[in-house]
Every structure is written in C-alpha cells, then in structure tokens.
Symmetry: C2
Subunit: 594 residues, 2 copies
C-alpha cells in the first residue's frame, strides 16, 4: 500500500506518482472475503444498526434538523467509507460533537427546522467533504497533529457539557437556545417556571433507565446465566427498549395530547438526491466552520481508528482516511444528509461485536435503509425527551474530568491548554473554544522553546559522558566551560544563548575555551547563525576560543559553508569527550585516576 | 542593576520586587560624569543635530505631517530617553520606517495635513507609548525575539523600497498616493505626463550630490589633508549643504514661482503641549497598527542598541528599553510629536562622533529646540524635493538585497520567510507584510519541529559515542535498535515517533530491545507521553523491551511519577553506552577489539 508515505520514515524515499494517489483499501480486504468474515460483519451490523437508529434521529435533532436527516446521513456515507476507508472497523455516521458544531455553524443563517437550514447543513457537509478530500490529496493529514491531546480532550469534554445542557431543555419540555454553556444555563433558568412535568418525569425515567442499562444490566443478565455476547447485545439495545416503551406509553395514554412533544411524521422512503446551495456568499461564511468541523471530525475519527487498528496490528493511513471521510461527507451532501465522521462509541461497539471488514458498514447502511423505508411510521409517537435522554447518556461518557488533574500533575502548560480550551468552549462556544485552544497550545510551545534550558556540564568520572554540574558530581576546569544547549537554535531563542555565553564568560575570569555541546541542537536557523557569529566575534576579541562538539549531521551539513565556520577560532569535535581530552588534559587524567 | 532579569540565566534566581521595577540608568552614568565625557557628548550632539534637522522635517513629511512636527518629536523624547534608556548612545527621534507605518496607520482616518490627521498621529504615539510601557513593566521584551532576522530584514528592505517610491513623486513634482509598491508605481506611471521638470532636475541633482557625499567626499577631503574627524563631520553635513544650496537657489531665482514646491511657513516656537484624542472608536482602530509600530520600533532600536553596546562591552536591558521608548513616545504625544524610536543611522553617527552618555541626547534636544526657535524662517524656501532626496539616500542603504541570496544558500525556510515578508510588504503594505512574515516564520518553525529527524544510531568503534548508521561506520546488533530522536517530543510530532518505532520493529524480526537515546529530547508534553505509553504497550505485547538512555534532568523529573515509567518493561540508563554494554555485550566486545 502507498499509505506508508507518511512522515515516520527513517530514511527519505523518492516520491512516486503512485504515492500521491489515494488507494482503494476495498481491493485488499475484498479479495480475502469469506463466510466467516461475513458472519462477523453481519452480527456487528445488526448491533450497530440497533444503536444507530435512535442515535441518528437524536443527533439530527441536536443539529437542529428533522429526524429523518439523521437516517439519510447514515446510508451513503457508510457505503462510501467502506470502499475508501483504511480502517476495518470505523463506524461512520452522525456524531454528537460534529452535530453540535453543525448547529453552531448554520444557526446564524437560517431558522432551525426550515428548508433553508437543511440546505445550509447539506452545503456545510459538501464544503467540509471537499476540504477533507483536498487535504487528503495534498497529504495534509499531519496538520491534525497540531491539535494536541489536551486541546482535543478539553474540547470534547466541554462540547459534551454543552450538548447535555442543550438537551436538558428537551427533558424539561421547554424551549431554550444558546451557543455556549453560559447562554444555555441562563435560558434554562428563565424557563424553570414553564417546566412540563410529565415530559420531565418521563425524560428522567428514561435517563435513569439508560444509565442503569449501561452500568448494571450486563452484570445482572450474566448473573442470570445469559451468555456474555447476548448480554452485551441486550445492553446495547437499551435505547431501543427505552424508545419502544416511551413510544408505546405515549400512544396508549395520549401523552402527546397532554403536551409531551413527539417526533411526529417522519417521511417514509429512501434518502433523497440533493445538491448544496451554489451561493458563494454562503460558502464564504461556512468556510471557517467547515474547516473546524473537518479537522475535529478527522481527529475524532483517526483517534478511534488508530486505537482499534493497533489492537488488531493493523495500520491506519491518515491521508487515506481524509479522502474516505471527504468522499463520505460529499455523499452525505448529495443524499440529504449532514456532516458525518467516524463515531467513537459506535466504532468500539462495531469492533467488540466482531466486525472484520468495512462490509459491516455496508450492511449497517442496508439496515438503516430498511428502517427508513419501513420503521418511520412507528416513530410518530416517539417522545423527543427520550431522544434527549439517549444523547445525554451517550455524551456524558465523553466528559473527562480526570484530564485536568492528570495534566496539572504532569505539566502546567498542558493543563493551561486543557483549561483554556474547556473554559473558552463553555463560555464562548465550540468554534471559539477550539481556536483558542489551538492558539494557546502553540503559543505555549513557542514560549517554551524560546526559553531554552542551557546547562553547564562536566565530565562524569569514569565515563566519557557529561552531565549538568548542578545535578551530578562531575569534573570541570577553570580554563574551559562546556555549555549544553537543550533546544534547537532559532530566532526566538538565539539571543538567549548570547546572554548565556556572556554570563559564563563574566563568571570565569581565567577562561580560555568555550565548548558548545550541540547534541540537543537539531537545527540552527539564519537568525541563530547570526547570533553564533556575534558570540564567536565577542569571544575572539576577549581571547577565548569557541569550539563545537557533537554537531549533528544535518546541522553540520548546513554550517559547513558559512562565514561562521570559516572564522571559527576553535575546532569541531565529533564527541565532547575528545574536546575535553584535547583542550584540558588534566581533567581527563583526573577522570581516569578516579 | 536589575536588568539582568532576562532569560539568559544559567541558574534560576528568586524573583525580587526590585527586579520588576524599571530602573533609572541615569543614576549610574550621571555620578561619573566629568569634563572629558562632556566634551565627547557635546561634539556628538552638534553632529547629530546637524543630521537630525533635515531628517526630522523629512520624516514628518513622509508621515504626512507638517514639517515642524518632526522638530517637536525630536525634543522631549530625547530628554526622556536620556533619563530612562539603558543604551549609552542610542539616538531617539523620528525614523523612516516608523514614519511610513504612521502614514499607513492614520491615512485611513483623516486627510494628510489636516488637524485631525495630526491629532491621530499624536494619539498613535500615545497608544504606542502606553503599549511599550506596559510590555516593559510586564517584562515582555522577549516577545520581540519572535520577529526573526529574515522577517525584519525583508520588512525593512521592502519598507525602504516603498519609501523610495513614495518620495519619487516629490522628486517628480507630482501627487501620487498608495499604501504599497504596486499602488505607488501605478500612480507614478499615471503621473508621468505631469512631471515638473525643474523640480525633477533639482531633486536629481540633490540626490546625486548626497550620494557622492556619502561615498566620495570623505576620501577626497582626506586626500586634501583634512583630518579624519573633520572629514567625517563634513560628510555628515552633506544634507545641510544640499538644503542650504537648493534653498538659496529657490529664494534667489524664484523657483517657487515656477512651480517648485517649498516647505513654506514653519511656525516658530517651542513644541506645543498636546493631548491625544479621547475617542475610544479611534483607539480601537489604532490599537493594531500601534502594536505593530511598537514592536517594529522596539526591534529596530534594540538591534542597533545591542550592536553598539557590545562594541563598548556594555549591556542593553531590553525590558528597560521598552520602558524608556514607551515613556519617550508618551512624551512625544504630549508635545505635539508623532511615534519615535531609536534610529539606526543616527545612533551609529552618535557613537562614531564620540558620544559617551545619554547626555548627548539632551544636548541634541537643546540644539533642535534652538533650531525650532530661530531657524524655521530660513526653511521657508526649502524645496520639498530636497527633503525627498535626503530620505531616498538615507533609506536606500537599508535595502539588503544580499539577504535573499544568503538565506537561499543557508536555509530554504529562512529564504521563504524573507521572500514572503518582502513580497507581502511590497504588494499589500507594511502592516500586512509584517503580519504575514511573522506568521510564515512561525508556521515554518512549527512545521519543521513536527517532522523530526529520527536517526538509527550505532556505536563508533573505539569510543563510547553513537552516530547515525547511515552517515558513519558504526556497530549495531540485530537484537537491538537504538533510535535517537532529534527533537523535543510534543503534540505535533508525537505520532511520528509511533510510526517510526513501528517501522523499525517491522524491519528487524529478531528484535528484543528498543533503546531511545533521549539526548536531544528537551521536553515531553502530555500528548507525547500518551504516545510513549502507546509505543511501550505495543512493544510489550510483541515481547520487546523499551529502554531509555541519556534522559535529561528536567525531562526525567517529570516522567518519574507517570504510569509510563511505572509500566516500563526496560530500564533507564545514564548513558547510551551503558545500555548497549549491558543489553548487547557482543557489540561492546567487538568495539574494544577494533
């Protein structure tokens, strides 16, 4: 396969045209398809379909769209992903966070539920799909690496909290709008007097039931002697049971006449053929949100895909994933859907249920198609609060409160990135939160590299190694100072080295040699080269020689033809030990004597 | 002094309140002031004053302001800088690039030459001064390090070209406006039929004269036996001679009646007391340009200040400079001036002329004050084209065409930063060019660190050193792979290491040990820690032990309490040689045998 054209090569390889074309993974797994694989895929598809029906309806409502749009978005994208995707088990379709981002992106252009709103959602999926395709063809998958784990974690947790808050209004049977937690909570507080108690009671009961199904049902069934596999499947069917029960009650007791909001008429039939709006003004406005949705969707999808691929020693190809997700989103736009991606929970279920190949996705698509042909009349009396309960229970598991504590212990910079992302997302909204998180994490990284750790090092007795004089018992000479710069030299930190050498010179009056141990210097840019020239000149004027040691190959290649190297008063040593042995033999003798 | 609170410390020191307060360098040099110092300062002040009078008029016109504003901006700021500045020889006042940026910033709010325009310039100086003060008090001087040399060089060169183009209209005796080179050249071409030939002839003559004075006068005078010092001063007085000559001709021959534009009435008197406009809408609009002007002014000032300080083994304190420049700009705003900073050419002249202390600046301010009290009537007949010639000759020396070739040879990334800054500034304007340059240089740096160089290393025979197997003849074992990661591990490159270890494992079937040589890893963030955990787990499942060697102190401190270290299957070695000697004794024996 050509997917190995990533960044992780030990050695560079010539670029071939083949490398730049996306692959067709289906050709690989399709050849080896047999009856056993078919069984695994079919069982997994049944379970995922049962899980996906309520989720797709719920996420469509979360995105502000009619429920059937969720079903539409769960057919074509799954088939397209099966053909192009490099993950064997990723389950593509509507997911919570991307649905929330869709609502945030198009809420400003049209009234939720209106035809214009649906068209905007279709257009958003189309633009996002094109962007993903372009990124894949240009091999830009690596850009997703700039979203750090702390930022993703903070963003997903905050999004889950916003989604929960937005669903509480449905549980309460009231209307309340808001793009962030602050607005939502204020709106909910204002609606407290209008609570529809029957809706709330039913919604809370459904929530409690679903939570219990998640935690308590499987152990209980197993204690009753139900086989693990079946117990697992029954636990996954919890939402379907909740839907069946509340729908039946509503139909039988006429709760909808008492004000319980129901899903109502869901059009029966196959996904329609649709086109995005060819409105350049709208495209311009949707470009930025579409980019954020693309990146978040890609990162969510690749994270779960890589985790699951590693468990079966398979490999995910990020650039191929971009192409597959891009094509899936374009297909969603052409069949009345909205932005989709690989979902976390659903993919894990697919994996655990024994899916072997992406064919499971095709079977799931067929299941959803059947449902949208036959099942929709049965959804008429389905209370919206039940779907809200489904969403709440699903997203609450995404909230990772531990990340704050873990990063606080490990690194304050990572903690700051989590905290800023979390707070900005909660207080301002999903788009602002994501941008703030990325900005802060990059700024903190730049800030750290701009203040490098520079250690004065000495010889560890009995070895040829050098360590920090402040941390280890080492040998030094008053005539020589060894500085180890723990960072690549570039414009933001070049002046710091100048200051540091000046200080070292001022501290040691008898100094004759400065040796820079360059083992941690991975690059020297033009600004840093000018600083090195300035340092060399100042030392030369003070009668002190400047030497380098352990300069890495790529750095040396670059330095070779520069004025700095031509004018260097000292030498370049392969190892720091050679430098010390030659320049201060007394240290070498001391070291051997110990 | 407290200025040593910079970043360049070998060891951290406790923060004292004193460190956070700006200093008063005048207390230091003022105490040792004597007659000899006075003489040096006075001579330098006379020469700088002669140079500053035409420059201040010219730069005020460049900024779109009445010429006397240039004189106003050359009094109070010099005195304030003398009290607060940490450079002994920096000559503060109006400079070309900042004047150009001032025109670009306020041109959109008012008609050049109108009272509202002047007020906007005053307000801009005030805001910029407050920003510099705040950055100084918050010790944010290091932020200027994020402007790389290539970006500064490209920006200054492009600005000089724009300034030259903007002055050609004055030489041609026509009107032409534009914020970038493209607009200016188009406007100039349109004005070709309207050239005022007398103005052009006189302007070109003045330009040629000034160029000759710069290059040829000093050698000529010295050949005639004039002492070096005097020859130098006479060469510096070139612009004054050009002004005297063209003013006399204009007055005597009545050129102004033939259409040669003259400076006209320059109000006689001391700088007025003024206040910025307290218009919040204007402040908001000016905030971004003021920030850019502050940063550019600070960088220009600090660059020349540091160069000159190093020549006399003095030290510049960047945060103190921020305070001094901030207060200078506020004082400019309160006395009818516009944004000022330390000028490159003028400071070098001050230094060469023998200035010893900032008192030279106070004497210069007195000289300018005398000039604005007495000399202004003499400036009535001064042709504007002469001032344009002064500017052109001054800024052309700032154009550094060599930087393109130098960076192209040394590093394509640096070349790209220069080229983008240069082209964006020329094609779009100064503000856009600077922002584009900083963005591109940071993005290229991030891109580089996101694709780290990872080398498979082996033992150099006869030493305890390890080098790249592809570049050196080294010893390796089929049971062990040593990987040296040439970059700190952080979110943008964490996944690359995962891929790389996977590849190495796939290439060596008999592998039992993976040793990561961490000598170039200066930090591991939370995202990279998760990747390391993933790598360790995958290796464990494959029966391969993961070891670390040469982990730096700060990195080890952080890793110590993590789950990664608790679950590590291998060991952490102080040196990579110890790891190899213990894990593959056969390699050690081979190495000693050679």
């Amino acid at each position: 396969m050509d997917g190995a054209a990533g960044n992780g090569r030990l050695t560079a390889q010539p670029t071939r045209l083949r490398q730049w074309l996306p692959g067709l993974p289906i050709l690989e797994w399709g050849r080896a398809y047999d009856r056993e694989t078919l069984t695994g895929d079919l069982v997994a598809a049944v379970i995922v379909t049962i899980m996906l029906i309520p989720q797709s309806l719920a996420y469509a409502l979360l995105a502000g769209l009619p429920p059937e749009v969720g079903l539409y978005a769960s057919v074509a994208p799954l088939v397209i992903y099966a053909v192009l995707g490099s993950s064997r088990v990723l389950a593509v379709g509507p997911v919570a966070v991307v649905s929330l981002m869709t609502a945030a992106a198009i809420g400003q252009f049209a009234e939720a539920g209106s035809p214009a709103y649906w068209t905007a959602a279709i257009t958003l999926a189309f633009i996002s799909g094109l962007m993903l395709l372009a990124m894949g063809l240009l091999r830009l998958g690596f850009l997703a690496n700039f979203l750090s784990h702390p930022v993703i974690s903070g963003f997903i947790s905050a999004s889950a909290l916003i989604i929960t808050a937005s669903q509480i209004k449905t549980l309460m049977g009231v209307k309340a709008e808001g793009h962030n937690l602050v607005e939502l909570l204020r709106a909910l507080l204002g609606q407290l007097p209008n609570i529809h108690w029957l809706t709330l009671a039913m919604g809370l009961a459904a929530t409690a039931f679903l939570l219990w199904v998640r935690r308590g049902l499987k152990p209980l069934l197993m204690r009753w002697g139900v086989p693990v596999r079946l117990a697992d499947t029954m636990a996954k069917a919890g939402p379907v049971a909740a839907i069946a029960a509340t729908t039946s009650f509503t139909w039988a007791l006429g709760w909808h006449e008492q004000g319980v909001r129901i899903v109502g008429t869901v059009p029966q039939g196959l996904p329609p053929l649709t086109l995005p709006a060819w409105d350049m003004a709208l495209w311009r406005e949707l470009a930025a949100p579409a980019l954020l949705i693309s990146v978040v969707g890609f990162v969510e999808s690749v994270s779960v895909g890589q985790t699951l691929a590693a468990r079966r020693r398979q490999r995910l190809m990020p650039d191929q994933e971009l192409v597959a997700l891009g094509a899936s989103n374009v297909s969603a736009a052409l069949t009345g859907g909205f932005p989709v991606t690989g979902g976390f929970a659903r993919s894990v279920v697919n994996f655990d249920a024994g899916a072997r190949t992406p064919a499971a996705g095709v079977f799931t698509a067929m299941g959803i198609m059947l449902a949208s042909l036959l099942l929709t009349p049965a959804l008429y009396y389905l209370p919206q609060a039940t779907l809200a309960a489904t969403i709440i229970v699903a997203v609450l598991s995404l909230v990772d409160v531990g990340i704050l504590k873990r990063t606080w212990t490990y690194s304050k910079a990572d903690f700051a990135a989590v905290a800023v992302t979390l707070l900005a997302t909660l207080a301002l909204g999903v788009e602002q939160g994501l941008v703030a998180g990325v900005t802060v994490s990059l700024a903190l990284y730049l800030l750290r590299t701009s203040r490098p750790h520079i250690a004065k090092v000495g010889l560890v007795p009995g070895t040829q190694s050098f360590r920090n004089v402040l941390r280890h018992h080492v040998l030094v000479s008053p005539r020589l100072v060894s500085l180890r710069v723990d960072e690549s030299l570039y414009f933001a930190n070049a002046r710091v080295l100048e200051d540091c050498v000046n200080d070292a010179v001022a501290q040691q009056p008898g100094l004759r040699h400065v040796v820079l141990q360059c083992s941690a210097i991975n690059a020297i840019d033009a600004s840093a080269l000018e600083s090195l020239e300035a340092i060399a000149q100042r030392l030369r004027e003070a009668g002190i020689a400047l030497h380098l040691s352990e300069v890495k190959g790529p750095v040396m290649d670059r330095l070779r033809d520069t004025a700095f190297m031509r004018d260097l008063t000292g030498k370049v040593y392969l190892t720091h030990y050679q430098a010390i042995a030659e320049l201060t033999p007394e240290v070498k003798i001391n070291a051997l004597g110990q």
